[in-house]
């Protein structure tokens, strides 16, 4: 990226030589600062328990943020991720608590994972067709499901909290592999796959090409529509998965709260991780980094007795700072 310092106004506090370095590695520097601060200040921070809690909470944000990163890379945005989480999260207990699910537990669990994911993919397909074929702006196209998706979930469950006790299903959210939460490993596997897709496949190339210059991508004969629909479907299925994990963690599905405000966390994580809103960049591991930073800030403030509401303001400032730094880098 550009290392010119012209046109920058407010990097006053940082020495000139540090400017480019900070801009290129801002996320990592921020992470290091937060970690050092926590080690010095937060009581009982350096413990396995802390790591465990944070990983199990950050995984859902990271998974959704990776899907959001792909959508943003095409120059789009997906506001419906939280609603899709609620929908898939509401479907799962409905299925394995049904008569069929009780009669055939193994099949029931399989269906309770597959069917919600298919529903989530269908939601993504809906968004994608609106954006790619009908040329509706992404904010508006995904606004439809943002508004009605959670409503559908609440209609399905009648607005009731569904509680259950099902160790097999709960493994998604409470299982451990090598002592660390299952969903953390799942997030890493997804990241590896998406990283491979973005760097080694034509699909990935086209995602970036569309974000860079959609018209050019189309004129050069690229399958622009299919690729666009594809990213919304990927974002949909990842949101659906995150919804299942949240339900598994809680052993309960609350359609009103599952994934509430997740779109903001996911967009923030993607942007902090280095995704450009104009499209053309898809830092998959950046999305994880962004999610970790947002989670750690939340944790740091809570662990030090700062109220939740102040944490919101902190999150706002992080987003502004991240985009401002990014903006400067682009110029």
């Amino acid at each position: 990226m550009s290392t010119q310092d012209t046109g920058l106004r407010s990097d006053g506090a940082k020495a000139c030589a540090w400017g480019p370095f900070l801009r290129a590695n801002g996320g990592l520097v921020a992470l290091a600062v937060i970690l050092i601060f926590n080690i010095l200040v937060t009581p009982n921070f350096v413990q396995m328990q802390t790591l465990f809690v944070n990983i199990s909470q950050v995984a859902t944000i990271a998974i959704v943020a990776m899907g959001m990163t792909l959508v943003i890379a095409t120059g789009g945005i997906d506001l419906s991720v939280g609603a899709i989480m609620a929908l898939s999260g509401a479907l799962a207990p409905l299925i394995f608590l049904s008569e069929f699910g009780q009669a055939y537990p193994a099949l029931g669990i399989a269906a309770a994972i597959v069917v919600p994911l298919i529903a989530a993919i269908a939601c993504g397909l809906f968004n994608g067709i609106l954006v790619a074929n009908l040329k509706v702006q992404p904010i508006i196209a995904t606004l439809i499901l943002f508004i009605s998706g959670r409503g559908i979930a609440q209609v399905l469950t009648n607005g009731n909290l569904q509680t259950f006790s099902n160790p097999t299903f709960s493994y998604l959210g409470t299982g451990k592999v090598l002592g660390l939460p299952f969903q953390g490993w799942l997030a890493l596997v997804i990241a590896a796959v998406l990283f491979w897709v973005m760097t080694r496949t034509t699909f990935g190339r086209y995602v970036l090409a569309i974000g860079g210059n959609e018209r050019a991508a189309e004129l050069s004969g690229g399958p622009v529509k299919r690729v666009k629909i594809g990213v919304y479907m990927i974002c949909g299925v990842l949101s659906g998965l995150a919804g299942l994990i949240v339900v598994a963690i809680n052993s309960a599905s609350d359609a009103a709260r599952n994934g509430n405000l997740m779109e903001l966390d996911a967009i923030a994580a993607a942007v902090v991780g280095g995704a450009l809103l104009q499209g053309g960049r898809a830092p998959i591991f950046g999305a994880i980094l962004g999610a970790v930073i947002i989670q750690l800030v939340k944790y740091t403030l809570l662990a030090n007795g700062v109220e939740d509401e102040v944490a919101l303001i902190a999150k706002a400032l992080i987003i502004l700072a991240a985009v401002y730094v990014q903006q400067a880098r682009k110029e």
């Binding site: 945005i77 009908l134 606004l143 439809i144 508004i147 209609v155 509401e309 987003i319 502004l320």
Partner: protein
């Protein structure tokens, strides 16, 4: 977009094809309601409907200006929650202090948005997203996460609960005046033209020597101020400052604007059609309530969101077809 001649329905519709849908749907829904329910056209339903929806109308109109410049303001719901708390704190001094105070607070948030967007060059989506989080946090901090009861002794609650000349609630009168003023600004002033020009092409507008930054700052401060007014109506209508309210208002407002036919890419828009859009979305709720009241079917509150979404979907489909027809015609001539 600027009709200078007298109002002519046919001319209006031919110039605003994207706004046809909302008027047709609104009239159809009102007729449906009048024919089907006894009390639908009654004074009580009309005033309570307008009273509740005046908040959404004023926010939607502010949003309409932002969207016409090609921007977006996600902070309006949180700002309304914040200003409702401010209004509640100021209520002992009467409406003449509380109203301007809360509106000023809203304008302050709008100014912050404008600063981030113009001076820091942060995209509107992100800048107003941050303000949304910040204002929500701020509202919870200053209120201690409690609803703040207003002073019932002062004249503050008149605004939301009493009627001017015993006909219309004050909130509707105030919002009506704001809407007429803003209609005038958009259709008849240089500022209004500049707003539309920015949406048509910001760079071209700068090259034409239009005061783009000033107009951009204006629309965000206007949107903030409108959210502030909505906050006052909220506090005065419900008797309390409500830091937890306003969730999803920005999206309802965007939906109203879009349903009204304003293009999200900017450059085109109408204050009246936006009001119609807000009324239409509100009417969906109203009619569902009546339908539930008849007892033949029972739609839970959750259905309302689903039906709203379907409505939005239908209007967007319609718009997509009308607009694609329009651009094709343009190409040919």
């Amino acid at each position: 977009m600027l009709d200078t001649d007298a109002f002519d329905l046919r001319k209006y519709l031919s110039r605003n094809p994207q706004s046809v849908a909302v008027w047709v749907a609104l009239v159809a829904l009102i007729l449906f309601g009048l024919l089907r329910y006894d009390n639908f056209g009654g004074a009580y339903n009309i005033t309570s409907f307008l009273n509740y929806n005046s908040m959404f109308i004023v926010i939607s109109v502010g949003m309409c200006f932002v969207i016409m410049t090609g921007g977006i303001d996600l902070s309006v719901g949180s700002v309304a929650a914040f200003t409702s708390v401010i209004a509640a704190y100021l209520s002992p001094y009467g409406i003449e202090i509380a109203l301007p105070g809360a509106v000023l607070a809203g304008i302050g948030f709008g100014a912050f948005n404008a600063f981030c967007i113009i001076a820091m060059r942060i995209p509107p989506f992100i800048a107003t997203l941050a303000t949304m989080l910040g204002a929500k946090g701020g509202a919870l901090v200053i209120s201690g996460a409690q609803t703040i009861s207003v002073d019932w002794g002062s004249n503050f609650t008149k605004m939301g609960m009493e009627k001017a000349l015993n006909i219309l609630p004050w909130s509707i009168v105030v919002v009506g005046v704001v809407v007429v003023l803003l209609w005038f600004v958009l259709e008849k002033t240089t500022l209004g033209r500049t707003v539309l020009a920015i949406g048509g092409g910001a760079d071209a507008s700068v090259l034409m020597g239009l005061k783009v930054n000033r107009a951009t700052a204006f629309v965000y401060m206007l949107s903030g101020g409108c959210a502030g007014l909505a906050g006052v109506i909220l506090a005065s209508g419900f008797g309390a400052g409500q830091p937890l309210e306003g969730i999803g208002w920005e999206l309802s407002a965007i939906a109203s604007v879009v349903v009204g036919g304003t293009l999200l890419t900017g450059g085109l828009g109408s204050v009246t059609a936006t009001v119609a859009g807000a009324l239409l979305l509100g009417l969906v709720f109203n009619i569902l309530n009546f339908e539930n009241g008849r007892g033949t079917i029972s739609f839970s509150a959750y259905w309302q969101m689903v039906i709203r979404g379907v409505f939005l979907f239908a209007v967007i489909l319609f718009q997509a077809r009308v607009m694609s027809g329009r651009t094709e015609r343009k190409v040919r001539t």
